[in-house]
């Protein structure tokens, strides 16, 4: 027996499943525990960095005029605890955070949590759509290139991915917006929906899904059409990245004994690809998809500003350019949380895809 936890060569099926399930639970609990620690780390980093920013948050918050008045200034500083030591300020911040209070945005005048509640789903909707599109395209292209290694198809894929990786996202966003909206008029304009349409009642915050839940076909099509162009622009870079990686992983798996053994059994070519090759390549692909999702989030800042998409990127840009500290900290925190969630999901999927993680 190669497993360390059990000598179950003779164990019946019942005992085995019960024993085998606990390692996965333990593995996930451990990951969740790490995530909580990391989350605390994220708050420390965002708080520290934001407070190191050169610039006068008091002037930014009150406006140049009011900040000239020493009494107003004094009152503001005391009310926000800005006269307290740094560590005390951090705990004040954490206390508010735990109550779900991220402060008030200086730009919008609304609670940061309220702003984020609409901005985050807008961005996550693009990001998820883009990662799904990129992954689907990349798996096909990468596998094709690996199977046709050195042949014409491989070269074509190589050029496509090179273009995807070299074209700057903001340039592509501008050009495609100009071409498909202003010239060809086949893409809808900027924003999440057309001005003539009312937003769906909020359930998930994803317009496409909320329209569907509401049974509003027209709204769904409009939201999907608005989503299409930014998603395609964002996907191109990710496709370049993923395709190259998938090609390499598939080549590695194709050279493996288990693929040769599957062929020797007379399993059909399609079954070999789906059951053996892609499953074998799934773990490295999963790892890089997690990384790609992060890269994709940073790409949304550029794409959102071109398409006037009211998401996290636009919000981050506005907060930063106005020295809106509560807004900036809110964005930092949310981005940190998104990364943690992605990592947790990736870890979870490792457990699902790899029995050695799940059962060992």
């Amino acid at each position: 027996m190669s497993t360390g936890t059990t000598s179950a060569g003779t164990a019946g099926p019942r005992t085995r499943t019960r024993r085998a399930r606990s390692p996965l639970a333990r593995y996930l609990l451990r990951r969740a525990g790490t995530s909580v620690l990391l989350l605390i780390g994220v708050t420390i980093v965002t708080f520290t960095l934001t407070n190191l920013v050169p610039g006068d948050p008091v002037s930014a918050a009150l406006g140049e005029g009011a900040a000239q008045n020493p009494e107003t200034r004094e009152a503001f500083i005391r009310s926000r605890g800005l006269d307290q030591p740094f560590v005390v300020q951090y705990f004040l911040y954490m206390g508010n955070l735990l109550r779900g209070d991220l402060g008030t945005s200086l730009v919008t005048g609304r609670a940061v949590t309220t702003d984020l509640a609409t901005a985050v789903p807008a961005t996550v909707e693009i990001a998820i759509a883009a990662i799904v599109v990129s992954l689907a395209v990349s798996i096909v292209l990468g596998t094709l290139a690996a199977y046709r290694r050195g042949l014409v198809a491989d070269q074509v894929v190589r050029v496509v991915t090179l273009v995807g990786l070299s074209v700057p996202t903001f340039w592509l966003a501008l050009v495609s917006f100009y071409l498909f909206f202003l010239q060809l008029r086949i893409a809808p304009g900027s924003g999440r929906i057309s001005p003539s349409i009312t937003p769906p009642p909020r359930v998930t915050g994803f317009y496409t899904i909320d329209y569907l839940l509401n049974g509003d076909g027209v709204g769904f099509l409009d939201a999907a059409a608005h989503l299409a162009l930014p998603v395609l622009v964002l996907s191109l870079v990710t496709i370049g990245l993923l395709t190259r990686f998938i090609r390499t992983s598939v080549l590695e798996v194709l050279a493996s004994d288990y693929v040769r053994a599957a062929r020797a059994k007379g399993v059909s070519g399609a079954r070999v690809v789906l059951d053996y090759v892609l499953r074998g390549a799934s773990l490295p692909i999963l790892t890089v998809v997690g990384v790609a999702f992060g890269a994709l989030l940073s790409g949304t800042v550029l794409v959102e500003s071109v398409f006037s998409w009211p998401g996290l990127g636009t919000y981050a840009y506005n907060s930063a350019s106005n020295l809106d500290l509560p807004g900036i900290m809110g964005v930092g925190l949310v981005v940190g949380v998104i990364y943690l969630v992605i990592n947790f999901i990736v870890d979870l999927l490792y457990g699902v895809l790899d029995p050695r993680v799940r059962l060992a």
Partner: protein
């Protein structure tokens, strides 16, 4: 007498000639040993039979299963032979089994294709096969993954997979090399028994003449892409004709053969 599988003047060229005219006849119920050091072309010979050579390889000569020529066969036709009429067992069972697929999956997917069995019949068949190769708790084993088995058990599973569709020919490429010495004998005995009971023609590829002497009926010794000597086991081991064969035999630990010749320096 012509065998079930006839390899005739087989050549394999991958950038340079690696197999230079190999002829072998495999007969039902007999184990045909193919010996030789690594790089002698013995593994390429077995891969060529199933069309598993790398894409850039070119082949010549002929490989016939009964009256059917295999070398120039299309992929689709070949897939009906692979696993069904000719099966293969590989050197390292820990890499020849897919780590993310259950034993049951790997033991039934080709059976369902080749024999047209439904899921539950294929499953019953798989249990029988595992019981035949002496994997404990066969029914339970189907739901488990390769890493949950020992090396010897994994190779037994590979043998069960290979023989599940009751093929005529088994190609075994160094089937015991990656295993502990203590379990090698069990695997060899299993192969010997299966060859006899299933009228299976076995091509046993190995560099290990000790393994060969244990179970092979006929032995061919390969060197540098050619067969330098072929005879039945008794003849080869009692009276090796070729210097190279004597050298290989002399290199066996505890060899009873005193040939006085040593393996000559290999310049190739």
């Amino acid at each position: 007498m012509t065998g079930v599988l006839t390899i005739d003047e087989l050549t394999v060229d991958i950038g340079r000639p690696l197999v230079k005219g190999v002829s072998l006849d495999l007969h039902p119920g007999r184990i045909h040993g193919l010996a030789g050091e690594s790089g002698s072309g013995k593994t390429l010979t077995s891969l060529a039979v199933l069309g598993l050579l790398p894409r850039q390889a070119t082949t010549g000569g002929s490989v016939r299963l009964g009256d059917t020529e295999l070398l120039r066969m299309g992929r689709r036709e070949l897939n009906r032979i692979r696993g069904r009429r000719i099966a293969m067992v590989f050197q390292d069972p820990s890499s020849a089994l897919h780590p993310q697929l259950t034993v049951g999956h790997q033991l039934t997917d080709h059976v369902r294709t080749h024999l047209g069995l439904n899921r539950s019949d294929a499953r019953d068949h798989a249990v029988e096969m595992l019981e035949r190769v002496a994997v404990p708790n066969a029914a339970d084993a189907l739901g488990r993954y390769p890493h949950q088995f020992s090396g010897g058990q994994r190779q037994r599973i590979c043998i069960a997979i290979a023989l599940a569709c009751d093929p005529d020919v088994l190609l075994a490429d160094e089937p015991t090399t990656a295993l502990d010495v203590t379990v090698q004998a069990g695997i060899l005995q299993l192969l010997r028994d299966l060859a006899t009971e299933r009228e299976l023609a076995v091509l046993l590829v190995t560099h290990d003449l000790g393994v060969m002497s244990a179970i092979a009926d006929d032995v061919a010794v390969m060197r540098d892409g050619r067969i330098v000597e072929a005879a039945d086991r008794a003849t080869i081991f009692a009276a090796p004709q070729h210097d190279y064969t004597r050298g290989l035999l002399a290199a066996l630990p505890g060899s009873r053969l005193e040939t006085g010749t040593h393996l000559e320096e290999d310049g190739a």
